[in-house]
């Protein structure tokens, strides 16, 4: 390996990127494509909030419903589900394991092309008039024999393949590509969380795959499996759909929790409190998450018995989640805490995620859920978990690994400013929605009673603030990547393996495969 060569300047030209099997390059490809979709999804979110700024209709309700649908489809299937595993997981996980690449580099590239294929289908469906089914595609509303519904469902199907392939790759990588001495008890907590996520991706995604495929067939041939007119059961569709889509929530949040574990240890320069508990709680969450999907269906006319069973199991998910949160706080105890911007994101995550978590208990308690179900309370809750949780973690992780990925340092003041806008904006946007939900404002409404107006206006203003925050973050990234100072090998003083190699890493990652003799967080 010649001096000064790294994975970025190893080869030049667009084709060298589009055919690259280097996990770091594929991670960057994902970063650009997911970033693009995040931008579109974000613009749609602000359009939604603009419509809801005033009672009455600014946009046609039919158009609003399309905004709402594509905001959901894009943000769920094309941003948050692939987000952390495909970008940061791809780039960082092999480094954490002391491996030269993921187990199947070609499959990794294939999964990106599946993602792109799904993306093209999603766009195509917009040109066919746009689906207005909501991202959940509930039948029978989604059975209307329109091309837009078919392509939108196919987009989810193809993107699902991307997710499965990433999952297969990561499970095999964690099983087989650990460097000498890297026992399962020595892998980083980020890797643990990605491992649990990958299991979910492999086991849950195919079910939604077949479900949306059946939906496509329903729209082409009217096969009737989910169509009450032909004897089908629309509630079974919901069962199948949530069998994936509930674990999908954990596909989104588990890797975020992994990132937070990394950030907390690094910036308090202290070993993690309760490594085993955090690692196993990831697996516990992954396992139990398959048994709780019915809590999305408490009012769906599923039986009372099923509702009660699903409610009690849902409560169990709360326990490992609580364990993680307590362990993070305990890690701070007697640490040496440095308030750099990644740490700010980690603390912001803790704040927001705790609110998201405790409101989750309101929703898993059946009696209160009956009132909150499908109101803005639910909207606020899952944005607190998925956006406040996952996006805060993505941003924290992005700042944290930015010097490793680009070799340069971002501007700290700008990064802090982006944090302020995103954190404050987020709470301003979504906290009022809890109140709106308690008042009874249903979700997916293009228009609402004037009594709800003032809170909606606060919420809309907050959404523009978040938008500003992300623009600042974008500026910080671009400015840092081109103008930033050289970051050096280990700017944060972290102990994990990726910081023992040059920034940016060379194509082969490690000159020589390291041998590990201790756990990942040995701050003594």
């Amino acid at each position: 390996m010649s001096e000064g060569k790294n994975y970025i300047n190893q080869e030049a030209g667009l084709m060298s990127w589009l055919t690259s099997r280097d996990h770091k390059r594929i991670g960057l490809l994902y970063f650009y494509s997911i970033g693009f979709f995040f931008f579109i999804g974000g613009v749609l979110a602000m359009l939604i909030r603009t419509e809801l700024f005033r009672s009455g209709n600014l946009f046609d309700p039919a158009l609003y419903n399309r905004f709402m649908t594509y905001h959901g489809v894009i943000m769920v299937f094309f941003v948050i589900v692939p987000g952390i595993p495909a970008i940061l997981g791809n780039i960082i996980m092999p480094l954490h394991l002391g491996a030269r690449d993921v187990a199947f580099p070609t499959v990794n590239l294939m999964s990106w092309y599946c993602y792109v294929g799904g993306a093209i289908l999603a766009f195509w469906s917009i040109f066919l008039g746009g689906a207005d089914t909501g991202w959940t595609f509930y039948t029978p509303y989604s059975i209307n024999f329109s091309g837009a519904n078919i392509t939108a469902a196919l987009a989810a199907f193809v993107a699902g393949f991307s997710s499965i392939l990433t999952g297969v790759n990561f499970v095999a990588t964690v099983h087989k590509l650990r460097c000498p001495g890297m026992t399962m008890k020595r892998i980083t907590l980020f890797t643990w969380s990605l491992y649990a996520t990958a299991i979910l991706q492999v086991l849950a995604t195919p079910v939604v795959g077949i479900t949306v495929l059946l939906l496509v067939m329903e729209n082409i041939f009217g096969i009737g499996i989910f169509d009450p007119e032909m004897g089908g059961d629309p509630v079974l569709f919901q069962h199948f759909f949530w069998f994936y889509s509930h674990p999908a929530v954990y596909i989104m949040i588990l890797p975020a929790m992994g990132i937070i574990s990394e950030l907390i240890t690094t910036f308090s320069r202290k070993t993690i409190f309760g490594y085993t508990a955090i690692a196993y709680s990831s697996l516990a969450i992954a396992g139990v998450s398959f048994l709780v999907w019915g809590h999305h269906m408490f009012t769906s006319s599923q039986s009372e018995v099923a509702a009660v069973v699903f409610s009690v199991i849902t409560m169990l998910v709360g326990v490992p989640t609580a364990i993680k949160t307590f362990n993070w706080v305990a890690t701070l105890y007697k640490g040496s805490i440095q308030m750099q911007s990644p740490m700010l994101y980690a603390l912001g995550f803790m704040f927001i995620f705790t609110i998201g978590g405790v409101t989750g208990i309101f929703l898993s308690t059946i009696a209160t859920d009956i009132h909150f179900h499908d109101t803005y309370f639910v909207v606020a809750h899952f944005h607190y978990v998925m956006v406040g949780g996952t996006l805060m973690a993505i941003m924290g992780g992005a700042y944290y690994w930015f010097p490793k990925i680009t070799g340069r340092m971002f501007s700290e003041p700008w990064a802090r400013m982006s944090w302020v806008f995103i954190f404050v904006g987020f709470n301003v946007t979504f906290f009022p929605q809890f109140v709106l939900g308690a008042m009874g404002m249903p979700r997916r409404y293009a228009d609402y009673l004037p009594a709800f107006e003032s809170l909606n206006q606060i919420s809309s203003l907050g959404s523009y603030m978040i938008g500003t925050g992300f623009l600042i973050a974008l500026y910080t990234f671009v400015q840092g990547a081109y103008r930033g100072e050289e970051a050096g090998m280990n700017p944060w003083g972290s102990k994990t393996l990726e910081w023992t190699i040059p920034s940016p890493p060379p194509h082969e990652n490690f000159e020589e495969i390291p041998t590990v003799t201790a756990g990942p967080y040995e701050y003594r």
């Binding site: 086991l203 079974l236 199948f240 069998f243 599923q302 039986s303 018995v305």
Partner: protein, 100 residues
């Protein structure tokens, strides 16, 4: 690469004969005898036996790393979960009738 366990030719043939035999058996039980209400269960058990043979010998699971067996049986477990919870809902619903 290290030498892998090579399953002898004769084993393949034996397993194949057993599979054919079981196929005849399943047709015989379904069409020749009237085992209702156990028709479905019998057919399913025979199919499971055949599947077990294919996995153990043709797919080399018997001589393979235990982790692969765990992976595949795990997936059957998750299909069962999907089944159990869907059934839990559908068979405990209380039907409501119109009273008009």
């Amino acid at each position: 690469m290290a030498e892998h366990h090579v399953i002898p030719f004769s084993t393949y043939i034996k397993v194949f004969s057993a599979l054919i035999g079981l196929t005849f058996l399943t047709v015989l039980t379904a069409k020749g005898m009237d085992l209702s209400p156990f028709n479905g269960a019998v057919a399913f058990i025979i199919a499971a036996c055949k599947a077990g043979l294919v996995m153990a010998i043709f797919m080399h699971l018997k001589y393979d790393a235990k982790s692969n067996s765990m992976i595949i049986f795990g997936s059957f477990g998750f299909v069962m979960l999907l089944f159990i919870f869907c059934v839990l809902d559908i068979y405990t619903r209380i039907p409501v009738e119109s009273t008009l």
